[in-house]
């Protein structure tokens, strides 16, 4: 049985349509290019990036932050399916969890890439190294991210092995873990927001609204990304995904975007009306400061695409049109991606604590390495999703594809 299963899984991964093979080849190529650049970074040090003392975190940390958000996709599916027993989502909840696994893996890769002395990672291992817990919020992040990774990975493996055997996986054994994954998902976002908002040296980040805004925007971008992927999956595989499931997700995205824009408005009001010296990074981002205005077009693009997406989503009849929905999802993905990088990490450092403005933008090496990480993440996701679908549709194993598990 175990041998059978492994054979089946390997067969599933290595066989597929022309498009599947082209996709995998494309991702592998990107991953290899990224890895080649990683060697250069290891050799020269982080000086090969555009980061400097004045902007000491950049594109890697921006991507990390965004991807913590994408890992949220899972919980947006877990809640309606397991808590409200909304059946249509049952088909896709596992794929959401696989997405979470891929996203958290990417997060960890970005963190390691950003470390100046990554070979000393063992210093972080409790007992062997020195784990500055609970003082350092970074240690909290290490804990919750790894916990979330293990949790989702176990849930997926458990569910798939049950399904493979033709049994239901919604068992008493699993439910406590499912419930636990909800606060765990919230915690990875909250803790990641706390990394920034706990720094009084950086007035731009030092605002309590950062954590809730983080969660709201994460619950938009993750599901927006998934919505597009689910449509691709149902076109290219035998997995049936009902419109109702997608509409439910779109509805959740709508309200989260409303909250995100509302919190953004509160932030804008607070900064502009109080107009203290702390408005400088805010001005740097939105209007430009002392002739430095490279972020201005980015942030306005983000706000405009997010607002257009919100307008599309808010009218149910429009968001039920898949063409419009896809435009909205693409806009949200772009909008939130910009918000996390150009809109959050970079302006946090400009002006610096000593009043200098260093206009940071990632260089091509940082972009290639980041693309490589994304490619590896998407490889993990594609392989995971393909196995999951093969098991769910009964291609391998003994699942009854017509039954809702």
């Amino acid at each position: 049985m175990a041998i059978d299963a492994i054979n089946g899984i390997v067969r599933t991964v290595v066989t597929g349509s022309k498009e599947y093979k082209a996709w995998m080849g494309f991702l592998s190529l990107l991953a290899l290019v990224g890895i080649a650049f990683v060697f250069r970074q290891i050799d020269q040090g982080l000086i090969a990036t555009n980061m400097r003392d004045d902007v000491s975190w950049g594109w890697y940390i921006a991507n990390f932050t965004f991807l913590v958000g994408v890992a949220a996709a899972a919980v947006v599916l877990v809640i309606p399916y397991y808590i409200y027993d909304f059946k249509p989502i049952g088909e896709i909840v596992l794929i959401g969890e696989i997405m979470a696994v891929a996203a958290v893996s990417m997060c960890l890769m970005f963190i390691v890439l950003d470390m100046g002395s990554a070979e000393r990672f063992w210093h972080l291992i409790p007992m062997i190294g020195i784990f500055n817990f609970p003082q350092s919020i970074l240690t909290w992040d290490v804990v919750v991210l790894n916990m979330y990774l293990v949790l989702n990975l176990s849930l997926v493996i458990y569910a798939l092995s049950k399904t493979y055997a033709g049994k239901s996986y919604k068992t008493k054994l699993i439910m406590p873990f499912i419930f636990f994954s909800i606060p765990a998902a919230i915690s990875i976002h909250t803790v990641t927001a706390f990394l920034y908002l706990g720094a009084p040296a950086r007035p731009f980040w030092n605002t309590a609204v950062l954590a809730p805004r983080f969660i709201a925007s994460a619950f938009c971008s993750g599901p927006a990304f998934m919505l597009i992927i689910f449509q691709i999956i149902r076109k290219t595989t035998k997995l049936k995904i009902e419109d109702a499931a997608l509409h439910k997700m779109a509805e959740i995205v709508t309200w989260c975007m409303a909250v995100n824009l509302f919190l953004l408005g509160s932030e804008v009001f607070k900064e502009m009306y109080s107009a203290t010296a702390h408005i400088e990074p805010f001005n740097y981002l939105w209007n430009g400061l002392r002739g430095h205005n490279q972020l201005v077009p980015w942030i306005w693009t983000a706000v405009i695409v997010n607002s257009i997406a919100f307008l599309i989503l808010i009218v149910p009849s429009i968001r039920k049109n898949f063409f419009m929905l896809n435009i909205a999802c693409t806009f949200i993905f772009i909008g939130v991606y910009i918000e996390k990088g150009m809109g959050l990490i970079f302006p946090g450092f400009a002006p610096s604590t000593l009043g200098d403005i260093y206009d940071y933008m990632p260089n091509s090496m940082e972009l290639w390495i980041s693309l490589g990480v994304w490619a590896i993440g998407l490889l993990i996701f594609t392989v995971g999703a393909k196995i999951c679908i093969a098991i769910k549709t009964g291609e391998i194993g003994h699942a009854d594809p017509s039954a809702h598990h």
Binding site: Q44, G45, L46, I47, M51, R52, D53, D54, S56, W57, D114, M115, G116, S117, A118, E119, R120, F121, H123, L124, G129, I130, F131, N132, Q135, S136, I137, L138, T139, V142, L195, Y196, G198, A199, P200, A201, R202, A277, E280, G348, F349, P351, S352, T353, L354, G355, D356
Partner: protein, 313 residues
């Protein structure tokens, strides 16, 4: 603990004598390849400074001396002098005297073996326009002023370096305790323990921490061979460094390099616990203030104006 380390110091002497002979032997012969490899291996698994036993520390310092003597072609003395009892170091800077000449900056670079390329400077001298009322939050500074002569008319200067906070934001955030406050108030970094995450740089309100973005380098002849494990020993690519009040000098009862370099005597340094120290005199007789007091980091670095409210222009 401190007795402990004193013990380490003593047992080092013999080793140093041996080394002196070794390096004096002209063309300081190359480190055997095997030994260099073993050293790199040891470094990879080296424990945190505070967890090293006296013997381990002794060995490490000896190897450091050997390695640095070989690399820079001079006799090197590596120490880990412990804090002195009843001593907490404090610093005061007279803004009415500072002329913005940056001699402190260069003296610091030399004393502390900071990388020349890529350039690292632990002291930053900020230039402000007189009459600019936004200087205390440091928002409107110019760090890259290049006039033909300093001080320039209508400008004043505020040198900033690690403020040796009593409540250091950098220490709190470090995930591996690679940076901490010593009993004499100096905040240090273990360059062999730092993982280079740069969280401390995001947290420090005074831009005091510098990252080694690339491999540090300096001309051999400018290498300062009197090094301290927690201070001016050469740093590595991918780790953070910062001003340590010249720990190698201050713990030996000397002034810091910046104090000695300042041509106008704007810099005052001493033991805050000693009622007769110069620093205590300044604190008791001048109206001192600290940067970004609202953050309550509680710096042990004070600023004051001994004459009027600024230099005559």
């Amino acid at each position: 603990m401190s007795d402990d380390i004193k013990g380490k110091e003593k047992s080092l002497i013999t080793r140093r004598k041996f080394l002196a002979g070794l390096t004096a032997g002209a063309a300081a012969s190359a480190l055997p390849a095997g030994e260099a490899g073993a050293y790199a291996f040891e470094e990879l698994f080296r424990q945190h400074y505070k967890r090293l036993t006296a013997d381990e520390l002794k060995d490490i310092l000896a190897k450091l001396e050997e390695e640095m003597s070989f690399k820079y072609g001079k006799e090197v003395h590596a120490k880990a002098t412990p804090p002195i009892d009843n001593t907490v170091f404090g610093y005061a800077l007279d803004l009415s005297r500072c002329i913005g000449c940056r001699r402190c900056v260069y003296a610091c670079v030399k004393e502390n073996n900071l990388s020349r390329d890529p350039q690292i400077q632990w002291i930053k001298v900020l230039e402000f326009q007189k009459g600019n009322n936004k200087w205390q939050g440091l928002e409107h500074s110019n760090r890259y002023y290049e006039p033909e002569q300093v001080p320039e008319k209508g400008r004043f200067y505020v040198p900033v370096q690690c403020q040796q906070c009593k409540k250091p934001a950098c220490v709190k955030v470090c995930p591996v305790q690679a940076t901490w406050q010593e009993p004499d108030g100096i905040v240090v970094v273990d360059y062999n323990w730092c993982i280079g995450c740069r969280f401390c740089m995001a947290a420090c309100p005074y831009g005091a921490r510098s990252f080694n973005w690339g491999k540090p380098s300096m001309p051999k002849e400018e290498f300062n061979p009197e090094i301290h494990y927690l201070g001016n020993r050469p740093q590595y690519k991918g780790v953070v460094g910062k001003c340590t009040f010249c720990i190698q000098r201050s713990r030996a009862g000397k002034y810091t390099a910046c104090v000695e370099a300042c041509p106008v005597g704007a810099r005052k340094f001493g033991n805050l616990m000693d009622p007769n120290s110069e620093i205590r005199y300044v604190l008791e007789n001048m109206k001192v203030f600290r940067l970004k007091e609202e953050l309550d980091t509680n710096p042990k670095f004070f600023y004051f104006f001994s004459m009027g409210t600024g230099v005559k222009s």
